[in-house]
Amino acid sequence: MANGVDNLDDQVRENRIWRSIFRSGSGGSNLRRALFVQQNVFLHLFSIKARKRVLEFSVTWYLGALTFGTFLILVITGILLMLYYHPSVPQAYADMKDLQYVVSSGVFLRNLHRWSAHAMVFLVFAHMFKVFYRGAYRTPREFNWVIGVVLLLVTLLLSYTGYLLPWDQLAYWAVTVGSNIASAVPVIGAKVRFLMLGGTAVNANALLRFYVLHCVILPLTAVLFIAVHFWRIRKDGGIYPGESAAVESVSKVGSK
């Protein structure tokens, strides 16, 4: 039976149409496993092999992967929520009520988006501290740390812009508190706040701006930087395996 499945698997993978789409061929070999990663536009951000040691849970706690997981959940639930949402006043709030009473699983959708957003902010911080305490930011991984800091800020901005969208009291006053801080910037504070809100107070213009930032600009920025972040893991010598291995890898680089 298992043989039959394997044969079918081989037939599918050897199929001309399959090959034209996925490029990688057949055979249960390490070559095929390597090609699976290397011949795929998304997966080829990663290296073909990884140190066995870094797979241990204690090394990374999988925090980077989990952060990316929350991002995926947020993209999917976010797109679904966009189908039911109008970034206008007061329709935005009415849409929240529709999600609650009219849309099938609307409450669940919004709950999952909201809790995943909180989880993502938490995981990004956790990931940052974990990387710091392992010393994984050191040469040659300095710049990937910097990209990580950018991603932290993008995540905070994503969460903050999303906070306004329900247009309830919680959203409105949280963003008012935040935008008042922006006006404390010396000299250009008032200008910054005006640019941020599209006016002098949190109103329909601010809602539209936050919506565009939340659904287009910031997610695209995040995707761009996540791609570079992942690619740099490969380029900088894989996931940092820890102190003792660092000495070995240095001696290897020196001997090349």
């Binding site: 496993r33 699976f36 990663v37 997966l43 290296s47 073909i48 990884a50 140190r51 066995k52 797979l55 999988y62 992967a65 989990l66 997981g69 929350t70 995926l72 959940i73 006043v89 007061p90 669940f108 919004r110 709950n111 999952l112 909201r114 809790w115 989880a119 902010v121 940052m128 501290f129 710091f132 305490y133 930011y137 050191r138 740390w145 910097v146 800020l153 905070l156 903050y160 329900p166 247009w167 309830d168 009291q169 919680l170 409105y172 006053w173 949280a174 508190v177 008042n180 801080i181 404390a184 010396p186 949190v202 395996p241 102190e243 291995a245 070995e248 001696s251 290897k252 020196g254 001997s255």
Partner: protein, 234 residues
């Protein structure tokens, strides 16, 4: 790599004329030739499947949370009615707590700006790359600097009544002193772990501690007019 030698080898079997033998280790002959290549696994399936399982488990947990607890939704936004207190999202409540003590230009602009700058430059400063314990070298001078910095900072926090930031600072400073009092050779367990910690560890741990404490206080212990409330009495 060029073949030119950066040494001259003299071959002589006369032990009286050339009594010493020296091994030259050049770049081409690394002394660590016996380093074993680490065990490696294929990214597909080993790494990708593990990551996928981790993400799936987390997704299942988030789905359960989303089924059990509803996201908050208050009344329609009303610019005429300010809730008391008006709170920012939880991850900004540490900053909002600081706004209670300092003017907005300090708590809202200067401090977060400096934090972001400090995070960005971490890998580019030798102090963060050093892995040597803080007190293992130059101890007397470092203790003096440490004492001056901590005392000045604590006076500053006391003048502005920032007790919530003072307490974590004193706790971390206490552990630093404990590490300073620990003998590197004989220490065991927790103190052995402490004494090996470099300065970057102490600074980051202080930052993390302050972040957690200020955020928790802003989230749970602040009520109307940003007054102190106990969450279990509300």
């Amino acid at each position: 790599m060029s073949d030119s030698k950066d040494f001259v080898a003299v071959v002589d079997s006369d032990a009286r004329k050339t009594p010493r033998r020296i091994a030259f280790i050049t770049k081409r002959t690394s002394p660590q030739v016996h380093v074993k290549d680490e065990d490696r696994v294929m990214t597909y399936p080993e790494v990708l499947f593990r990551a996928a399982v981790a993400i799936e488990v987390m997704t299942a947990a988030l789905v359960i949370v989303a089924l059990l607890w509803d996201a908050p939704l208050e009344g329609l936004a009303d610019p005429m009615h300010t809730p008391n207190p008006a709170k920012a999202p939880w991850y900004f409540l540490g900053l909002q707590e600081m706004l209670h003590y300092f003017p907005p230009v300090v708590a809202g602009v200067l401090v977060p700006g400096l934090v972001v700058m400090a995070l960005i430059v971490i890998p580019y400063f030798k102090i963060n790359v050093e892995a040597e314990g803080l007190w293992l070298r130059d101890k007397a001078r470092r203790l003096r600097i440490f004492g001056i910095v901590v005392v000045l900072f604590c006076i500053f926090l006391t003048v502005f009544d920032v007790w919530v930031a003072l307490v974590p600072t004193l706790i971390v400073a206490g552990f630093m002193l404990l590490a300073a009092q620990t003998d590197f050779q004989t220490a065991q367990g927790f103190r052995k772990w402490l004494v090996r910690k470099p300065l970057s560890f102490w600074v980051m741990t202080w930052f993390l501690f302050e972040l957690v404490v200020l955020t928790a206080i802003g989230t749970f212990f602040r009520g109307p007019g940003w007054s102190w409330v106990l969450p279990w009495r509300a």
